[in-house]
């Protein structure tokens, strides 16, 4: 176990939030200052970083070996909207405004240190002194570097007062200079990463952690400066520290903060990148058992079962990670769409699942969703009321998908990306060329998710089968049923919603629609030649909150809301999330689910969006069980699937399953020497299983 008393106490303190007592609720009036001094947007943004750093309180807890605790509750970013409103009246923001959901080149920053980054900025400045934009940007970047270093200096002074000479030594060296040890590297990242958040950016991921950190750990181990136990101890503290401020991070729900961390996979050169740190990250994440960082694991058809078994142990905790992505599928797809091979091999994930390149991407991977249920719904309504053919439905659906894609892209042509001088320090080429990252990096694509795929596919399969093949449902009675939410037509609804002809059963009749619908979506994205920033549109299969929003509606949502659907789903019922069978559909099982979703042409659907499978934690109790889960994960890779989220149902979820059995029809729990469907057990026994699960925790 990586945890000891010190770490357990630290974790407990973080959970109870003792450190929040030191938080400041005052909001810095950056706006007044910017107006008074007539600062440009670039200057406003660097001023924000500076003021935030200057006014941070210095907090060092007695037992900490890695320091920094954020005390500012709020980052005043509203000035961006107002300032930009004056300067760019036609432009729109993405989400909250500040640059988000990209990944820094942490390895580069570590290897150079902030001082060398500053020297680079100064050098470029001396070449480009006649370029006012470059001068402004580089000066702003330097201002932010100085601000960070000054904050670090204040931490160092405080550490000295507290007699923590170990911390003083460390802070006198990093993040100004490249780290000399694994410990210094962790401290370096802690500061710089936290200040990216503090600058108003969000969904700040940690990229390929085991790749850029391993050289420091390896050297320490070789030189005998550290042993594995102490390294785990430091890593555990680092992971706990990532949970300190996460309640302040913006997200749809608490915990939805996009603090991802990628491990595993091949190197830029195409070699196996798995190292001892890969394993250590999984062990420590398992033992720390907190929601951050969110571990992602890159695998391939040849990944060791031992590594997958360790990952399965982490899955077992029910935290919803690691999430798995398949190098065999992701890398060729990125490479086929304009990503250099060495960059494609270096992919990580954005906040949720989108594949991005650290240090080289200024991509907006989630400009919105295409509602696939809305597209097929429009198709069948238009065509069935005019006695059209099934082919007409497909072509009408395709038109609607193209329209939805075009609308999103047109809207985002007005996208305004505010400058990000500090984030630019951490990227490739910005300081070298004097260009802020908001002006674009190597990759400038947009991503659109095709949301709620399974319901849309099930609708097509049901209409084809019952209206066209069997002719057992009349077109007008189907439309009438949809318009009236199946009121008094329960028999029809049940026929349409039958489990058999649904995606997730490895049934080609249905799965052919899965392939063709997503191909149509890919066609629509490929038809957009330029997204307005010199990039393309990447189609994906994530749903995020759309499985709720597209059904219930949401303020300011561009995507259309859909009522009852021809797969027997009633108005207001949730759609399917990501790549999972439709809600309430009992499919054959996880193998068939993988087989169904393996058929998608992932070479064209490459923005990401995981197959989502739920398992009860009772199916991995023994080492042998864990190994079987590892085999299931390897099967995912061997079948050529792209991304997998394996959820373990824990006590809370089991309780929820009792309240909403219709949403958990596939949930299997182990009862005795056997497994059963949780929702088919009597309540008292469900209680008992829940009680037993509590016992396990």
């Amino acid at each position: 176990m990586a945890m000891n008393t010190r770490l357990e106490e630290m974790k407990m303190r973080t959970r109870t939030g003792v450190h929040k007592d030191a938080r400041q609720s005052n909001i810095i009036d950056i706006e007044a200052e910017c107006i008074r001094e007539e600062l440009s947007m670039m200057q406003c943004v660097s001023r924000l970083t500076r003021r935030m750093c200057e006014s941070e309180r210095v907090i060092i807890q007695e037992d900490e070996n890695i320091v920094f605790t954020r005390t500012h509750k709020h980052v005043p970013i509203s000035f961006m909207t107002r300032q930009s409103g004056q300067q760019h009246s036609e432009r729109i923001f993405h989400e909250l405004g500040p640059i988000s959901n990209i990944c820094a080149d942490w390895g580069m920053v570590l290897s150079q240190g902030l001082l060398q980054r500053k020297t680079m900025a100064e050098e470029t400045l001396s070449h480009l002194e006649n370029d006012p934009d470059a001068v402004e940007f580089l000066s702003a970047a330097i201002e932010t570097i100085d601000a960070v270093l000054n904050l670090v200096k204040r931490y160092s002074v405080k550490a000295k007062q507290l007699g923590r000479n170990d911390i003083v030594t460390m802070l006198n060296h990093v993040p100004e200079n490249p780290p000399r040890t694994f410990h210094e590297a962790l401290q370096f990242i802690r500061f710089v990463h936290a200040i990216v958040w503090l600058s108003g950016h969000y969904h700040v991921g940690l990229g390929r952690f085991d790749q850029y950190m391993w050289p420091y750990l390896k050297d320490d181990l070789l030189e005998g400066r550290i042993d594995m136990k102490n390294a785990e101890d430091l890593l555990a503290e680092f992971f706990i520290s990532l949970n300190k401020d996460s309640d302040l991070y913006p997200g749809v729900q608490q915990g939805d903060n996009g603090q991802t961390l990628m491990i595993g996979g091949i190197t830029k050169e195409g070699l196996d990148g798995v190292n001892e740190l890969t394993y250590m990250v999984l062990r420590v994440a398992r033992d720390v058992a907190m929601i951050d960082p969110k571990i992602n694991l890159r695998i391939s058809k040849d990944t060791d079962l031992e590594l997958l078994a360790l990952a399965a142990e982490l899955t077992r905790l029910g935290l919803g990670f690691p999430q798995y992505s398949n190098d065999d599928v992701v890398i060729p797809a990125l490479n086929a769409h304009g990503y250099k091979l060495e960059d494609a091999r270096n992919y990580t994930v954005a906040a949720c699942w989108e594949f991005i390149i650290p240090g080289k991407g200024m991509e907006v991977v989630n400009i919105g969703a295409v509602s696939l249920p809305a597209a097929v719904d429009e198709g069948i309504r238009k065509v069935l009321s005019n006695n059209g053919t099934f082919e007409d439905i497909i072509s009408c659906t395709a038109d609607n998908i193209q329209l939805q894609v075009n609308n999103l892209v047109e809207h985002y042509r007005k996208l305004y990306l505010p400058p990000a001088p500090f984030y630019s320090v951490l990227m490739n080429g910005c300081l070298e060329t004097g260009r802020d990252l908001s002006k674009g990096l190597d990759y400038n694509n947009f991503g659109i998710h095709g949301a709620c795929t399974s319901n849309a596919v099930d609708v097509l399969a049901a209409v084809k089968r019952y209206v066209f093949d069997e002719k057992s449902v009349k077109p007008d009675s189907l439309i009438y049923a949809l318009d009236n939410n199946f009121e008094h037509m329960e028999e029809l609804r049940q026929r349409l919603s039958g489990n058999e002809f649904k995606v997730g059963n490895n049934n080609d009749y249905v799965d052919d629609f899965l392939i063709s619908l997503l191909d149509i979506f890919a066609d629509a994205c490929e038809a957009v030649e330029d997204n307005g920033r010199g990039g393309c549109i990447r189609p994906g299969t994530g749903s995020a909150m759309y499985y709720v929003w597209l059904s219930k509606g949401q303020e300011n949502m561009h995507e259309p809301v859909v009522g009852a659907t021809a797969d027997g789903r009633k108005a207001g019922d949730y759609f399917s999330a990501n790549l999972a069978p439709s809600q309430g559909i009992k499919v054959k099982g996880p193998i068939s689910v993988l087989q169904s979703f393996s058929k998608i042409h992932y070479s064209r659907i490459y923005n990401g969006g995981p197959i989502t499978i739920e398992l009860s934690d009772s199916v991995f109790r023994t080492e042998e069980d864990i190994m079987k889960v590892a085999m299931l994960i390897r099967t995912f890779a061997r079948l050529g699937c792209q991304q997998l989220q394996l959820n373990t149902l824990n006590v809370e979820a089991l309780k929820d399953a009792r309240k909403h059995p219709e949403e958990y029809s596939n949930l299997i729990v182990r009862v005795w020497g056997w497994s059963g469907y949780f929702c088919e057990l009597d309540e008292e026994y469900q209680d008992q299983i829940i009680a037993r699960h509590i016992h396990l925790v």
């Binding site: 490895n506 099982g589 059995p661 020497g673 056997w674 088919e680 009597d682 309540e683």
Partner: protein, 253 residues
């Protein structure tokens, strides 16, 4: 040509044998064990069951071709993961000819037969020959007690076990449900150990399956009443040492 009735096909059934397996639950069982946890597997015909999630029909008719085709769809995956197909129930021997025809059509899949051995010798041998591994349930050795708690005579069961032990394959595992006050008595355990010791070819291992009070959880769904006639909550007597003389590994599952 025999059609079969199946009440469930469960994928990734991690507790039904080695590797990744798909388990076919065959409907219909000659026995009526008081502790049976799969009441929907008892009757031979399809029936409607009502759970909290709504009504559904338990039991679907398949031809051997249909069922084999479903299983073969996953053959590569199951084999790649050192698994295969498990036939369970109900009691697979209850539909022995059907199961045999299904096995004949499988594409090299590892077959595990999960049985309590109550069938005519001919039927038992038919499936035993075609299986790669057998999970053989032993419950009670005293014949009156067996009759009382399971509703059937145990002579054919013991006879089939003896026959299995005289063949040189397939390997088998003896599984003993530990039902408090019924099968877990010292007497019964000693009787079982005696029988195992006398077998010509012993099992790979012995598995003890402690009774879990959730056994009755599906009865009301099937319109049945669970009447265990024993004290469910009683402590279970687990004495591994009884099997010491058998020289066979014993596991508690």
């Amino acid at each position: 040509m025999n059609n079969g009735i199946v009440f469930d096909i469960q994928e990734f059934s991690v507790h039904d044998g080695p590797g990744i397996r798909t388990t076919v639950f065959l409907k219909g069982c000659p026995s009526r064990c008081k502790w049976c946890h799969n009441p929907e597997g008892l009757r031979g015909e399809p029936e409607e069951i009502t759970g909290p999630a709504g009504k559904r029909i338990a039991g679907k008719e398949y031809t051997a071709e249909e069922l084999a085709a479903i299983l073969n769809q996953q053959a590569e995956i199951l084999t790649m993961n050192k698994g295969g197909v498990t036939f369970s129930g109900g009691e697979p021997l209850f539909q022995a000819l059907f199961v045999s025809e299904v096995i004949d059509r499988l594409q090299g899949l590892h077959v595990l037969l999960d049985t309590h051995g109550y069938a005519e010798q001919k039927e038992f041998s038919l499936l035993a020959e075609k299986s790669d591994l057998i999970y053989f349930d032993l419950k009670l050795i005293a014949s009156e007690a067996h009759q009382r708690w399971t509703g059937v005579d145990n002579k054919p069961i013991l006879q089939n076990l003896k026959i299995l032990s005289t063949q040189n394959k397939p390997p088998y595992v003896i599984r003993i449900p530990l039902v408090p006050g019924v099968t877990d008595t010292m007497q019964n355990m000693h009787d079982i150990a005696d029988i195992i010791q006398k077998l010509k070819r012993g099992p790979e291992r012995i598995e003890l399956l402690p009774y879990n009070t959730a056994a009755g959880s599906k009865y009301s769904s099937c319109g049945l009443v669970f009447k265990p006639d024993f004290i469910e909550s009683k402590d279970i007597n687990i004495k591994l040492s009884i099997f010491n003389d058998c020289g066979i590994p014993v596991l508690v599952k």
